[in-house]
Point group: C2
Chain length 192, copies 2
């Protein structure tokens, strides 16, 4: 065993930072769960904006997520469309109002604190967080939800000079530059 006290303190600090951020999330008409869903939809590619993927991402249940999304839809932050690929599935996208809301995400305040506090250490700090999350996800047998272009199914520049130059070998779908930067429910780290 022998756990370092510093590691334990770091865990406590993360817990507390998140709680502070959360307390700032009651400002608008969205609750923390709704903010997290909105954030996810803003960053996820078009294959990943489904209730099932969101439930995985949030380590929650589909029933709960279904209600969270219904609430966001009712408030006008997201719009629902039936999936073209799968008749059982629905896809969500941010409405203009949703786009506007994420620009005022309370989490931005935490990001600014991080930037100011870490200064030149930011890259190392970020890397430590990434490595930690990787382990935490592996421990929970969860999915990574990493950026598309870091995936082992990503094929770069298969169609140069096209609007969608990249390609996903798993879904067999063309990918735009924006797609490749978004997070994906199917992402599996390259070289793993």
């Amino acid at each position: 065993m022998s756990l370092s006290p510093k590691a334990l303190e770091a865990a406590h600090l993360i817990d507390r930072l998140e709680r502070l951020a959360r307390s700032g999330e009651r400002v608008g008409d969205l609750n923390p769960a709704q903010w997290e869903a909105l954030r996810y939809l803003a960053r996820a590619n078009r294959f990943s904006r489904t209730p099932a993927a969101l439930a995985d991402y949030l380590a929650s249940t589909r029933g709960t997520v279904s209600r969270t999304l219904a609430s966001l839809e009712e408030k006008g932050y997201v719009a629902r469309t039936a999936s073209a690929r799968d008749g059982r599935s629905v896809e969500f996208a941010l409405s203009p109002e949703g786009e506007r809301a994420v620009k005022h995400d309370p989490l931005l305040a935490l990001a600014r604190d991080i930037e100011a506090a870490t200064g030149a250490m930011l890259p190392e700090f970020l890397d430590s967080l990434r490595q930690t999350l990787r382990r935490a996800i592996a421990r929970n047998r969860g999915r990574a939800f990493g950026a598309c272009y870091t995936c082992r199914h990503f094929r770069a520049n298969v169609r140069p000079a096209s609007r969608a130059p990249h390609h996903c070998a798993l879904l067999d779908e063309p990918l735009s530059q924006a797609d490749s930067q978004a997070i994906c429910a199917e992402q599996e780290p390259a070289g793993a």
Copy 2:
């Protein structure tokens, strides 16, 4: 403005790490809020184990915290005593069962992930978190809840060779070595 994308990603990762940790907190018969309260009581000194201090720490309300503590009490994890210093106030302490529970705190899994992921970078990682939290707290006008010995009211070794060698200049109370390591609701960073 111009917020670094890395800072934003770091904020997202913290959010996600905490959520993963939280999902592990449904194992026993305690919910996340109850875990946080138990954790706090395990680390707070005897001046700080009150509902009001806990409400400040959690950035929550006294009504909510009152119920959380009642629930912990009912389940046998904490014991309540009337305050000797203030007739309106009550103090909580972990029961033996509570002590046993914190030894299996789900947050320990996150701490182990942090330790394994950061390796030699742990001190720098911890420092970045501390600095970030300091700013986040200042922004929220909250209290620091730092370790007693880092406080400007802390007087070290006023009574050497005593069981309580240190002293708090604010509360005018003797402090044991264990007291000085605990977190305190009144803590104000030295040299601030």
